[in-house]
Structures are given as C-alpha cells and as structure tokens.
Amino acid sequence: MSEPVLSVRGLEVTFIGGGRPVPAVRGVDFDVYPNEVLGIVGESGSGKSVTSLAITGLLPDTARVKGSIRLGDVEMTEADREILRQMRGQDVGMIFQDPATTLNPVFTVGRQVTEGQVAHGQIQALRARERSIELLREVDIPDPDGRVLQYPHQFSGGMRQRAVIAMAMAGRPRLIIADEPTTALDVTVQAQVLSVLAKRQADTGAAVILITHDLGVVAEVAHRVAVMYGGRIVETGPVAEIFKRPRHPYTVGLLQSLPRIDSVDERLVPIPGQPPNPALLPTGCTFHPRCPIGCDRAICRSEEPPLRAVGEVHHSACHYAEEVARLFADAMPSDRIPASVVARAAAAGPPLLAVDGLKVHFPIKAGILRRRVGWVRAVDGVSLTVGPGETVGLVGESGCGKTTTGRAIMGLIKATGGSIRFDGQEVTRLSPGELRKARRHMQYIFQDPYSSLNPIKTVGDIVAEPLHIHGLYEEMGGGARITELFELVGLPRTVLGRYPREFSGGQKQRIGIARALALQPRLLILDEPVAALDVSIQAQIINLLQDLQKELGLAYLFIAHDLSVVRHISDRVAVMYLGRIVEESEKATLYETPVHPYTQSLLSAVPVPDPDARQTRRRIVLEGDIPNPAKPPSGCYFHPRCFRATERCRVEEPAFEPYPGLPTRSACHHAGPLEAVGSRRGASS
C-alpha cells in the first residue's frame, strides 16, 4: 500500500478552563491513504468533530493537544501558524456543515472559489475568473459563466454546498475534511451533493475524511469506517466488514437502533442509556454501562480495552469482540421481516381527524405602506384523514409546508381556507375559547426539545401546567397523576423538582411527551419529534411512542423529513411537495410501488445503511431545488424537476385522485410504477 496522506497517532485533545479539564479525544490512531474515503461515525460528544479540528489546527485556545498528526512530511502539532495556514489552503480542503455560513455573503461566489489559490500565488488574479468557471462546471453547477458573478444568496442550499466543494478542491489538496457536509440539506439535495463529492474525489484522487452521524451516508460513500465513542475509536475496518460483521457492541447497537428504508422491523433495538458526557466518563470501558455483552464483568468496569486486530484490517476495542459476532447474528436476521409482510389492518369507522382542502397563505408585504404584494402558498389544498389509533406519516422536504399543516390543524396558525374536522366537530370556525376546549384531545409535540420546555419551571410544574390551565388538576388526580405520567414515559419520580437544563435531549423529549399526554388526548401531532436526537436515543423515543400508542390507543400525525423513520412508525404515509400532497397510500404500497415521480426520486435518494446496495440500487438524482412557494411553477408544481414531465404538465394542474389497482391516491398526469414508465426516459443513474 502507498504512503498514507495523513497519519494520526495517539491524538489527545483536552479542553481546559471552566473548572476541571474535559477530555474530548483520548488516544486516537488512524491513517488515510490517497484515493480513499474514511468515514468517521459517532454521536454527539464522541469527539469526531474535535478530531477534525485538531487536524486542521483550528481548535480554540482552551484546547490542549497531545500526540502526533503527520500530513505528508509535516508534523502538524509542531508546525507554526504560518505553515498551518499555508497547508490549509494547499494541502487540506475543508467542507463544513452549513454552506450558508461558510460562504462570505458580500463577495461573489466566483471570487471565493479561487480566493485561496490566488492568495497562495498558485494562479494569477487575472486568470481567476476562468478557473472559477472551470471549477463550478466540475461540480455540476448549471450556467457557470453566469453563476460565477453571483452572490451566495442567489444560490440555493445545494448549489452553495457544491460551490464549497469546488472551493475546497480548488487547490487540488491531498486531503479533504468534510464535517457533516449534508446534514443541513434535504435528502434529494444530499444525493446531488454526495454524488458530486464522490465524483470529484475520484477525479482528483484526494483522501477524504467524512465525518457524519448518518450511517446511510457512510455506507453510500465511504471505503473505510472508524466508529468513535467517548473520545476514542472503538472499531475500524472496511465499510462492508463494519456493516456485515461488526465486532463492537456499540456498532451493533447503532445498526440495530436505526430505522431502515429497505426493510421493516417490528421494533427497534435501542442502546439503553445516554451517550457519555466527556466530563464524566465511566471508568474502564466507556461503553460498559450501556453494553449488552459486558454483563457487568469486572474487566469491563476496570480496564479500558485497547484497539486490537480482530481480522486482517479490522480492529475493535472490546474485551469480548469475539462474542459480538453472536450478538449480531442473534439480533439481525431473525428480527428483520420483509417489508411487505408487515401491514396492519386499516382503521375502520369514522376518522378522528379529517382535513379537507386546507389552505394557509401568508401575505408578502412590501414598501413603506406595508401593502400586500403577493401570497406565500405554504399549504395549498391539503386533504388527509387520521383514524382512531392510526399513525399517518406526513413527509416532505424543508419548505414543503408540512409543519405549517400541523400547526394549522392545531389552530396555532390560522387556516386561510378548507375545513378541519376533529371528532366530527368543525374546528376552523370556533371562537378562541371554544377552540381551547376542543383542542384538549389534540396535542402537539415539538421538534426541538431544547426550546419547547419553559426554562424557569421545574419539569414537574411543566407537566402539570396543562392540568392547571384547564382547571383539571385535582379532578385528574393531582400529584399522583403527574408521577404516573413521568412513569409512563420512563422517567423516575425523583426528577420532578429539577429544571429542563439538567436533562439530555432524549429526556427532554420524554418530558414533552408526558406534558402532551397529561390531558388524555386522542390525537398527537408530532412535528419531527426525533430529528434533533442521536440515533441511539431516537430509537428509544420511537419505541416509547409505539408503546404509548398501543397502551393508550392514540392516533398520531407524524410529521418528518426522514423517510426511514416514517416507514418504521406509520400505517399510512402522505408525501408533500410545495404545499400539496402528491401521493398518499398504505405504507407498504407507498414504499414498494410508489407511483408519483417525486415519491420515486425521494425514495431513491435516501442513503441506505448497506454498502452492497451501492452497486445494485438505481438512483434518480433530481435536478435543481424546491421552488419558492411564493412563485410556484405553472401547471404541476413538480414539472421543472420531473423526469416524466411533458407539455401537458406545464399547463395543466393534475388532480389528486385514486390510482387504479392500488390503495393509493396521487396527483400526477403520468403516474405509474417506476419500471413501467421510468425506463422510457434515461433519468436514472
């Protein structure tokens, strides 16, 4: 094998200041070779981002670095600032999470793309324009000659991130560090960006470190994987080995707790407990309090296992790595049932919630007189029903109006038109007082558990608040009821007097759920309830929601952008695009035989945590981005990005109607399964 581009040995990073030192990275070794993508996977607090910052020398002053980081012949930990600065431009390219803040808003994109090369004297300023156009063309930005003079705000999110990739690759660096490069992007845009990144990597032969929490992304693009936990690498090996033959219980836990788009589990197997706080690491093996095979054996509690070889190129830091094979074999195949088998009976009887032609339009005001100059059609004719005890998933990319739909149903945003019937009662025409009463049996769970709890109230008071508001505290059982609610969501009664800031994200979300359950609702509207949580915690919350549904007979309207999570939890699924539902069906039908081209591309764009699928899967990479809902395209809103679009789609709006032969309704002139229609046009890759 050739010389590694980057070689990290015994890297330790400790943050000092503010009390006792916090070890964020504790002894990390790895190499990255040319023409290789190394995926570093871990949850929050695992030290993955700190590792990348240490490599580039961008750590804050409070960090103390030990160990060795060699990039080619240069020891980065001893290099002075000037050399590091030189290397950052020429030898190391960086791609950060948020393209909106990586680009400077006051300079043109073209100028920024070649800024580094001009500064390092690699190209002359006069030739920079030409080079910028070339670089933008290489990352598939349409019309690079025109775009080169535009400013970042004129670019969409996906184009910005591609421009950032162009910028990082401009000087043909030997190493590229991509820190969560697609986390802020929608799934169809993520697919574009990942394919551009992979293409450019192959063209330049650079080494890439891809840092992410998303196992699907890793399976999609990485060659080798390092799994980090508690500031150390706990397992490393080729991507196929990691996914097929994991040798660390944490990796197994991650794989099992992940809802998957390619199959359906009855139930997820979450890793119990919380990821450790770097300031308070457990003794011995940092994973032992959450480990299913350690069984509290003494050595796990007292001795930190070293990273040792368990295969030719496969390393694991577990005392009982050999036993992990059995754990994985026991858990994975038998529990995994082919998706088509699992289908729950459709709910009978009248629907609990019936939304018909819901519209929410926001006025756009401009000028000194604040006159209305147009409308943002956030929700533009949405119809859906939720039966008692049923889970309906509402999926779509950001800006499609799914959250607005949820809030309008809840009455938090006024509906412009259409009807919302809850339990047979029309709620859009109720007075505020009547609405408050009617809403008792409909509750809302927010996405961000960090901001949805009042920071100055104890969690006991927060959960009791709805009872006090409705004057039902005594009637519903007072303090005993609160304790009962906490036990229902799996929190001990001892935490009642504590404040929200003392809890982790998953625990806060549990408190949010307890609050929503206080009034004994029949319908919960869940707005991205697990999007802000780590994978292992996400599985705990999803399981809790499923248990509560069974126990209390709740109906869920589950709003999310993550198609895998929605597949796992829903009975029926509706797909939204630009304020409208484009397809709605039974879960199995929608995922197995989608008929709307948008659903088909959405499903094909989701990264699957299975490295073998890379070759076999057909990918539809959509062009462009979601249009502005203030200026929607004519005819079918999806036609500018659609691979089946014809002249008819440009002028005529398709009706939302049943598709013959399937329990599906869709809004498309050319609806049909992918094989039947899609093969006509060469849009897949």
């Binding site: 009042n454 920071p455 508001i469």
Partner: protein, 294 residues
C-alpha cells in the same frame, strides 16, 4: 415559588463573586441603611440652623463641616440620601408599572396594539428628559412628588422598549407556543410564561433607571427647580456649595463625592448584572456535550 428563590440565590452568589459589584453593593447598602436610620446615625437636625457656627471646616464634631446656615453637612448628606433613594424608587415604580405592561402587550400581540403603543412611547422618548421634567414641575409646582413623577415618566420608554424586545424574542420560542397548544389563554401565556422569562433585562433596567433618576433629581435641584428647601438634597447642596467653593471647598466637594460614588456603584452593579445574566443564559444551554466545541 421555591424555584424563584433558588434562582435569585444563584444570581446573588454569582454577582457577589465579582469584586467591583460586591463593593458597589456594600456601598449602596450602607447608603440605604444610614438613610433609613438617619435619626440614630447622625446626632444633628438636618434643618435646624445654628448661625453661631457657619461654614466651619471638618472637625470631630462636624465630620463634613457646616454650611452657610450652620447646619451639619454630614447630617444633610445622610438625609439627602433619603431624597435621592425616594426619587429613584418612586421613579422606578412609575416607569416599571407603566412601561413593562405596555411592552408586554405590544410585543405579545403585535399588530395594531404594537403600532399604537410604541408610537406613544416614541413620542415620550422624543422629549428631552430634563426639559420635560422642568416643564412638568412648572405645572405641578416644586415638590418631592413632582420630581419623582417627572423622572418616572421619562423612564417609561426604556422599560417598554426593553420588555417588548425581550417578549418579541420569547414569542417565537417553542415553549410559548407549547402553552398555546395546551390551551392556555393569551393572558395566562403573557403573565405566567413570557413575563417570568423576561426579568433579566428588566432587572438591569431597574438599576440603570435608579442611577439616571438620582442624577436627574440632583440636576433639577442644582438648577433650582428640584425639591424646595429646606429639605436636604445632594443637588441642592452642590448648588449652594458652589458659591463657597473658595472659602469652604468641602461644602460642595464632599456631597459631590458621595453622589459620584452612588452613580458609579449603580452603574457597576447594572453592568455586572447584565453580564452575569447573559452568562447564565449560556449556561442553561450547555447541557448538550457537543456544545463544547465552538
């Protein structure tokens, strides 16, 4: 509200940890204490004249000396503190009880209520404070109450604006919307959720307005339109003392030092509070371990 008590204790602990703030608090506490216990602290009558011993320099009997009417200057400084503190607290109460609800309603509901209320506040803000106070005193006559009301009214806009800004940022937070979703009325949400989360900047503003009020009261007295004599006032003492600046420099200088230190202490305390409260806000968010990397 045991939570409120605990938070206050926590805040106090963090303020006391800073030396400047600690000194300021000790100084202000001393001023407040002697003002309240004036009769037992200083042996003289603040208004009784003794023309036998006028303009005496500091001595063991009269630590700050005597004025042109033979009154003990230290006694008058101590009683003057009463005037200052009374004006400050009165002004804060007036400005707060009007300004905070105005800002709360304007920020919470927005729309026409916001437009109307804030335009009224803008009108108040456009009046120069001291001129407005003088005009009001010209109408009401010189009295403790007139000075206090005048200063209080000029303080309304700052309370309204600060409360409104805080409410606007809270209004967008999920936990406020959560209470709405749970069926809480607007009034409940405003007073039980938003207001208790708005105290930090209001507390800072209370300290800042106290300092402005004391200074404005002194300025009015210095211009001869403040509290009428013989009630002792620091501004009044500066005004009379400046005529004797050559014969008895201590007459104006000593009350001036006391006034300066009071303002300095209040400003230090205000700055520290603002700093500590902002810092506390960040601490609340630190729970997520990945936040350690900036």
């Amino acid at each position: 509200m045991s939570g409120g008590v605990q938070r206050s204790l926590d805040l106090a602990r963090r303020v006391f940890a800073r030396k400047g703030a600690l000194l300021s608090i000790l100084y202000l506490a001393a001023i407040a204490l002697v003002a309240m216990l004036a009769r037992w602290v200083v042996p003289f009558d603040p208004v009784a004249q003794n023309l036998m011993s006028t303009l005496e320099p500091p001595s063991t009997a009269h630590w700050f000396g005597t004025d042109e009417l033979g009154r003990d200057i230290m006694t008058r400084v101590v009683y003057g503190a009463r005037t200052s503190l009374l004006t400050a607290s009165g002004a804060v109460i007036i400005a707060g009880t009007i300004g905070v609800p105005v800002g709360l309603v304007a920020g919470f509901f927005g729309g026409w209520r916001d437009a109307v209320l804030m335009r009224i506040v803008d009108v108040l803000l456009s009046l120069p404070g001291i001129l407005f106070a003088m005009a009001l005193i010209a109408v009401l006559g010189r009295s403790q109450l007139a000075a206090l009301v005048a200063v209080g009214i000029t303080g309304i806009p700052s309370f309204a604006r600060i409360t409104r800004a805080q409410v606007l940022s809270l209004r967008k937070r999920d936990f406020v919307m959560a209470v709405e979703a749970l069926g809480g009325s607007s009034a409940y949400n405003m007073f039980r959720t938003v207001l208790p989360n708005s105290w930090s900047p209001i507390l800072v503003q209370i300290v800042i307005l106290s300092s402005i009020a004391i200074l404005l009261e002194a300025a009015l007295a210095f211009l001869g339109v403040g509290i009428p004599p013989p009630t002792p006032s620091w501004g009044e003492m500066l005004r009379t003392g400046k005529s004797y600046l050559y014969d008895a420099p201590y007459y104006a200088v000593l009350p001036g030092i006391v006034l300066t230190l009071t303002i300095l202490s209040l400003d230090t305390l205000g700055r520290t509070l603002a700093w500590v409260l902002e810092d506390r806000h960040e601490l609340a968010e630190e729970a997520a371990p990945d936040r350690m990397v900036p």
